[in-house]
């Protein structure tokens, strides 16, 4: 079993496979192009949000405003981006820069990210309510088309997940700058001593988080065709759970983009699986939590055994 500790990606993969097998066992009809797309298409925005959260966790911070931020982006996408695209793009760009600035401020003033982002969540939430007081808006046509595209053989949701995983893997694990960013999480002082401006690196990590948060909001509107100021509030905790489920750790810059995407898929699938079990929605959040605890326990056991061996 040491293999699980050595290859951290295995446990997320196995968890997904187990939940997937159980789902197919409960509902064999889901084992089709259409069924799989239906099971996973809501996982695409969650996967993007999880990647956003991962960028923040990578530099030893945590983002409690992500859900509110994705909701705000969804509201902007459903209103400005759909009515006057230029203005919409500018606003979204400004939001990404806001995130980068937040990262710089958090580092420069040595503020706890958990407090700053918690505060910002109310700002984002307020703005979202201001833009879209009641649910509504419309998805831009091209976005709708993109999110409902039907590639041959492999459903959109799977394609999108693979692409997200690949791109972020290249960005975070393979590229030089991604390595340096992970280094900030591992030992910021040593990165600073090597001559890197850590404040800019933190801004970059937060900016990337903002960018993926924007993608998440847009993908969500592309699927739901309308928005609401509270549409993605639960993404905050889902994204954190996704990162951890995917083999990441809260501190030390240990993250895995592929794992994070798989974690997001597992969490989405777990919700469907529980519905197939005819579990009342009241219990679903708790059951999702139980799945999370189960996987984390497994991970802990494996790493401990490895440490003893």
């Amino acid at each position: 079993m040491r293999i699980f500790a050595r290859y951290r990606i295995l446990l997320p993969v196995v968890s997904l496979a187990v939940v997937l097998a159980a789902t197919f066992y409960m509902q064999p009809r889901a084992m089709s192009y259409f069924g799989i797309n239906l099971l996973f298409n809501l996982a695409v925005p969650i996967a993007l949000a999880t990647i956003a959260q991962m960028m923040i966790i990578m530099v030893n911070d945590i983002d409690l405003s992500l859900g509110a931020f994705v909701s705000l982006v969804a509201c902007i996408t459903a209103t400005f981006l759909s009515d006057s695209p230029m203005l919409g793009v500018l606003i979204l760009l400004a939001l990404v820069l806001c995130y980068a600035a937040l990262g710089a401020v958090i580092h420069a003033l040595d503020l706890p990210a958990i407090v700053v982002t918690l505060g910002m969540s109310f700002v984002w939430g307020g703005l979202a309510l201001f833009i879209l007081p009641s649910p509504g808006g419309a998805s831009p046509g091209w976005l709708r088309a993109l999110m409902t595209v039907k590639p041959p053989y492999i459903p959109m949701a799977v394609c999108a997940s693979v692409i997200i995983a690949l791109v972020t893997h290249l960005l975070v694990i393979r590229s030089g700058i991604g390595t340096v960013l992970r280094g900030v999480g591992g030992n910021a002082r040593s990165v600073e001593r090597a001559g890197w401006p850590v404040v800019r690196l933190k801004a970059l990590a937060y900016g990337l988080a903002g960018l993926f948060g924007v993608f998440a909001g847009m993908a969500l509107v592309g699927l739901t065709t309308s928005a609401d100021a509270n549409i993605a509030l639960r993404y905050t905790l889902l994204s954190i759970a996704g990162v951890i489920l995917g083999g990441g750790e809260f501190t030390g810059g240990k993250v895995s983009p592929v794992g994070a995407v798989i974690g997001a898929l597992t969490l989405t699938l777990a919700a469907s699986f529980l519905s197939f079990l005819r579990l009342s929605p009241d219990w679903q959040i708790g059951a999702q939590g139980a799945i999370l605890i189960l996987v984390l326990t497994a991970r802990l056991l494996f790493t401990r055994r490895d440490a003893e061996a």
Partner: protein, 476 residues
């Protein structure tokens, strides 16, 4: 430019450089030039200003007054001038692999395909400094032992990294290396300097300083008090210049009656009352793990008694010892809080009294014990950790290589204190990488591959026997 001729431009030139932290003059006007081919041994006791000097040279701190220039390269910054530092506390990113850690300090590695050259470069650097090191370039650093991490850090310091290392600053580089590896490093330093590089070598092991240094610089209270070619110093003269009178290793090992056996582990580690028990062998052969097992087994269980029977002195201060946000007082008193509490409330006056007493006994150099612990130099932080352990009433003191980066004078003080405490019936379990310290012990267990390979007592405790037991089977 890279000739070792004395007239070549210095790699770095300090003129009257000073650094003040508030009223503290950490560096008080130092002028210094380092030429290609120099190997500068830097000595001084803890808090003498060595680390500050190093940080001014490598650009980590801007001098309050005076100037730092890099005439040989004409570069404006230390990094561009090829000045590299290997710090005392380990400063790699533990989550990255060995090759990725090289990437952090090697900005010339660009593009998507940087991994292969990075791997090749770190492998070459490791091979050059530590032949036969057995470190995989793709291993995550947190899977390596402390000694291996130190080796990687040193190798990164000497690696070309796109330009060329001209001056490498080594701050206590051998503190977690065993003798064989340390020798490899010293050999490499000589080779590097012969090839036109320069090294600043900081060490508390005077033997190493005499072996590699061409010049020796003695610092005291932020000033350079002596600077001579290495041949101009004797060992005693050097110690005197630092301002400490070294007592020759206490030979008087009072014959004590063996007390009752208190500690006994399944692997065969035994200790009697009043005994100083050493754990020795090559670094990373299971000594620290054995100590951790004993200590955690005795103290950290659910049902452990309120008054701990064991206390721990950490060697890796940042990881196991210091509470960085707390004052010196709180750091020292944490082990005795339950004993001095009244109805569950901390007795502040008694706490302050006890800490003031230990500050005096162990000589913690600070004006005010309510200063933050991080305002102290490394060696003084270590003294606080000793005070923390010795202030408690625990009969067993577990020490995990506690003298890392502690100066000669402090060491002598601590040896004496350990002897005195042992005479009162305390047991010390002492893991050390330095033979000199191990020779202070009454009984020594030598570890090899996680097991005890020899038990030495009395006159049998000497460097030869320890090395013999550390290596015996390695050739087979």
């Amino acid at each position: 430019m890279s000739t070792a001729a004395p007239l070549a431009a210095p790699i770095v030139a300090l003129t009257e450089a000073a650094k003040h932290f508030g009223p503290v003059r950490a560096l008080d006007g130092v002028s210094l030039s380092i030429f290609p081919g120099d190997c500068l041994g830097l000595v001084g006791h803890n808090g003498a200003g060595k680390s500050t000097l190093v940080n001014v040279v490598n650009g980590g701190l801007a001098p309050t007054s005076g100037s730092v220039a890099f005439p040989a390269s004409g570069a404006a910054t230390a990094l561009a001038a090829g000045v590299r530092s290997v710090f005392q506390e380990l400063s790699l990113c533990p989550n990255l692999t060995v090759a990725e850690n090289l990437r952090i300090s090697h900005s010339a590695l660009k593009g998507m395909n940087w991994r292969a050259p990075a791997r090749a470069e770190i492998r070459a650097a490791l091979d050059r400094v530590f032949p036969g090191h057995g470190i995989d370039a793709d291993a995550p650093v947190d899977t390596l032992s402390i000694a291996q991490r130190q080796m990687v850090e040193i190798a990164i310091g000497f690696a070309p990294r796109g330009t060329e290392a001209r001056l490498v600053i080594l701050d206590e580089p051998t503190s977690s290396l065993d003798a064989g590896i340390a020798d490899q490093l010293l050999t490499h330093i000589k080779r590097f300097c012969a090839g036109g590089g320069a090294v600043i070598f900081i060490s508390h092991m005077l033997g190493e300083i005499f072996e590699v240094a061409t010049r020796i610089l003695v610092m005291k209270d932020g000033k350079v008090v002596a600077e001579k070619p290495a041949g101009g110093f004797t060992r005693q003269g050097l110690v005197d210049a630092m301002g400490h009178v070294a007592t020759e290793a206490a030979a008087a090992q009072a014959a004590r009656l063996p007390g009752d056996e208190v500690v006994r582990t399944p692997e065969g580690l035994r200790a009697r009352r009043g005994e100083i028990v050493g754990l020795s062998g090559l670094a990373g052969h299971g000594q620290a793990e054995a100590l951790a097992r004993i200590y955690l087994g005795a103290t950290s269980s659910w049902r452990s008694p309120r008054e701990a029977g064991m206390v721990f002195v950490a060697g890796d201060r940042g990881r196991d010892g210091v509470l960085p946000l707390w004052s010196i007082l709180r750091n020292a008193s944490i082990s005795i809080l339950p004993q001095i509490a009244r109805r569950g409330m901390v007795d502040r006056t008694r706490e302050a009294e006890i800490v003031a007493e230990w500050k005096k006994r162990i000589g913690i150099r600070t004006e005010d014990v309510t200063n933050p612990i991080l305002s102290l130099s490394g060696g003084n932080q270590q003294k606080v950790l000793f005070a923390r352990a010795l202030a408690s009433a625990a009969p067993v003191v577990v020490m995990d290589d506690p003298m890392r980066g502690v100066d000669v004078g402090t060491k002598q003080d601590v040896y004496a204190m350990i002897r005195a405490e042992a005479a009162k019936g305390r047991i010390f379990l002492w893991y050390s990488t330095e033979t000199e310290e191990v020779c202070q012990c009454d009984r020594v267990f030598v570890f090899r591959n996680g097991e005890i390979s020899a038990e030495l007592t009395g006159d049998a405790i000497n460097e030869e026997r320890i090395l013999e037991a550390s290596f015996e089977m390695e050739g087979a």
